[in-house]
Amino acid sequence: MTVPPVAESVPVRTESGSNPPRAIQGRTPWALVFERLRHDRTAVVSAVVVAVIVLVALGAPLIAQIVGHTPDAQFRETGLSAAGIPVGPSRAFLFGTDDLGRDVFIRVVYGTRISLLAGVVASVLAVMVGVVIGLASGYFGGHTDTALSRLMDVVLSLPYLVFAIALVSVVGPSLGISIAVIAFFSWASVGRVVRGQALSITQKEYVEAARSLGAGDAHIMFIEILPNVLAAVIVYTTLLIPAAITFEATLSFLGLGVVPPTPTWGNMLSESMAYYKVAWWFVVFPGAALLLTTLAFNLLGDSVRDAFDPRHDQTFAAHPDAGA
């Protein structure tokens, strides 16, 4: 007796060769998420904004060429008034100049690079560390879990800014230190979330099945468990990036991050503290750039989270393909 291949959902071509009936496509879990994102207007808008910001960061030298100003160039004749006060937005200086007659527009553009770099690198680092430690903690359980959980609790209890101050005062401010500090204070919250999920997934039958096949710990952690926490990890990363960007800006503002003359939004806002009465543009434009970036990432992060886990209070527009 033959066991035929079990029925599959492939459209059958009718005799006359006319259009086949619409196939029922099985949707992979990732396709579903993508579909939800595609139809979420805020997600699309914020994604576009983020893309533009990334492009600006990547194209900064090109933009500098087009405008004709470099971020460090000081235009004492045209950029400062007779009294030495920065000049406001004009054709020559789109965002005005700063206290040294530098083009604020170009400096804001270059500042994008630092913010994005710090934000993304620190987040990715934090997530990588958090995932590994969370997986180990949740999978191995027992003493490993106790020790690692304690570690995460301790790290989460540290007042981060004060600590960052202490650290930087010893080592000296730099971009690398900023990234390391941000990553250090961010990994533990990721780790906790991953640990929780790993704990419950370790009890699932497919993990038992993997063990019965002879799979080693690494296989189970990274091939069986990790894909199931990936959703949470992705959401966390997108929400971590704006926090990291803000953290970096704060550090630079306090003089603990990237120091002048390299432009970052944080140190520009710090410099502008002395000039806000005479040069509002020096505050508003870097501030707007910073705010816009964090807003866009936060919106995107919220949308991504909703795409992975639609909440009960959301109404869904009917899928355009539904009922066809």
């Binding site: 007042p159 202490a166 803000t246 800006a249 806002l269 501030g287 807003l295 109404t315």
Partner: protein
């Protein structure tokens, strides 16, 4: 209950010990002339040698560590050579400023944040909800220092130029001198802290309220005929507030250790600004002292929060 408390205190001590050790490692083991740093940049060679001996920096490192911990245990945070004051005195001077800022801000953000969250949760997807959510997102994305600076620009300066001289630019007036002036100088700083923090709470409370309102026991309460107000405030709020409570402990504790950015922007002479200044003057003992104090605040705040949990939720007390 006692065991529960004991465990929490044990953990708190662990954190403090880790912090103290980390700080010790950073300064005393890091490769630079510690005595020189402590004595200050302007110190002469004799002062440096004196400092070195007086601080026992010529002793082996483990011994120094032991003495360091011992001093801490006695509550002695050290002496600031740069300021020629004991750290304790500096803290006593600065703490009221930070506390005024932190506590005032806390009251504001609780009222605004929790209030907005509850209101939004009661009418999901209404106009009110959408506005609240939008504003929350806006302020949530706003770095504190930026908001502070914007306030200075628009609420202080622009209004000032327009003739409204209400908001002062900076500075602090102690409560003992004049309540009115004290408050007037703190309004902008309070608003800065409160709006940014309230955004987090509003999102948090809205989310957890929505979860709780969907629970069966709430439906039961309603079907028993309880008024909507009672349902919301007596039943739902209690459970929904727990995550906010945890967050509050962390936030208040952290803030008490120095609302660094806000103090910097508004020129308030609190612990935060002191810490930032200490970097430029390279005043190590002061930085160490403030770091440890800040950690202590966070840790104590967490214990208080946990105890509140134990009071509110009997399950916590019985856990093995």
């Amino acid at each position: 209950m006692i065991r529960f408390l004991a465990r929490r205190i044990g953990f708190a001590l662990l954190v403090l010990w880790v912090v103290a050790t980390a700080v010790f490692l950073m300064y005393f083991v890091a490769p630079h002339n510690v005595a020189r740093l402590i004595a200050g940049r302007q110190a002469t060679a004799e002062t440096v040698a004196l400092v070195r001996h007086r601080l026992g920096l010529d002793l082996p490192v483990p011994v120094q560590y032991g003495r360091f911990l011992l001093r801490l245990a006695h509550g002695d945070l050290g002496y600031s050579f740069v300021n020629s004051e004991s750290i304790g005195a500096i803290i006593r001077r600065d703490l009221p400023v930070t506390a005024s800022l932190a506590l005032g801000g806390a009251v504001l953000w609780l009222v605004i944040g929790v209030g907005a969250g509850v209101l939004a949760a009661k009418r999901p997807r209404s106009a009110l909800d959408r506005v609240t959510t939008g504003l929350s997102l806006f302020f949530y994305s706003m770095p504190t220092f930026l908001l502070g600076e914007l306030f200075l620009l628009f609420l202080f300066f622009r209004l000032y130029m327009a003739g409204i001289r209400f908001f002062p630019p900076s500075g602090y007036v102690p409560l003992s001198a004049s309540v009115g002036e004290w408050a007037r100088h703190l309004i902008l700083p309070w608003l800065t802290i409160a709006l940014v923090t309230a955004a987090t709470y509003s999102r948090l409370v809205r989310g957890s309220m929505l979860d709780v309102l969907g629970e069966d026991y709430i439906k039961t309460a309603r079907s028993k005929g309880l008024s909507e107000r009672r349902v919301t405030y007596r039943h739902a709020l209690r459970s929904a507030l727990t995550p906010a409570l945890t967050q509050f402990g962390i936030d208040l504790g952290t803030l008490l250790g120095g609302a660094i950015v806000t103090e910097q922007v508004f020129g308030l002479p609190g612990l935060g600004r002191e810490a930032v200044l200490a970097i430029t003057t390279e005043d190590l003992p002061l930085i160490i002292g403030i770091v440890i104090l800040a950690s202590a605040f966070v840790v104590v705040a967490n214990i208080v929060v946990d105890m509140l949990y134990a009071v509110l939720d009997p399950r916590v007390r019985v856990e093995s």
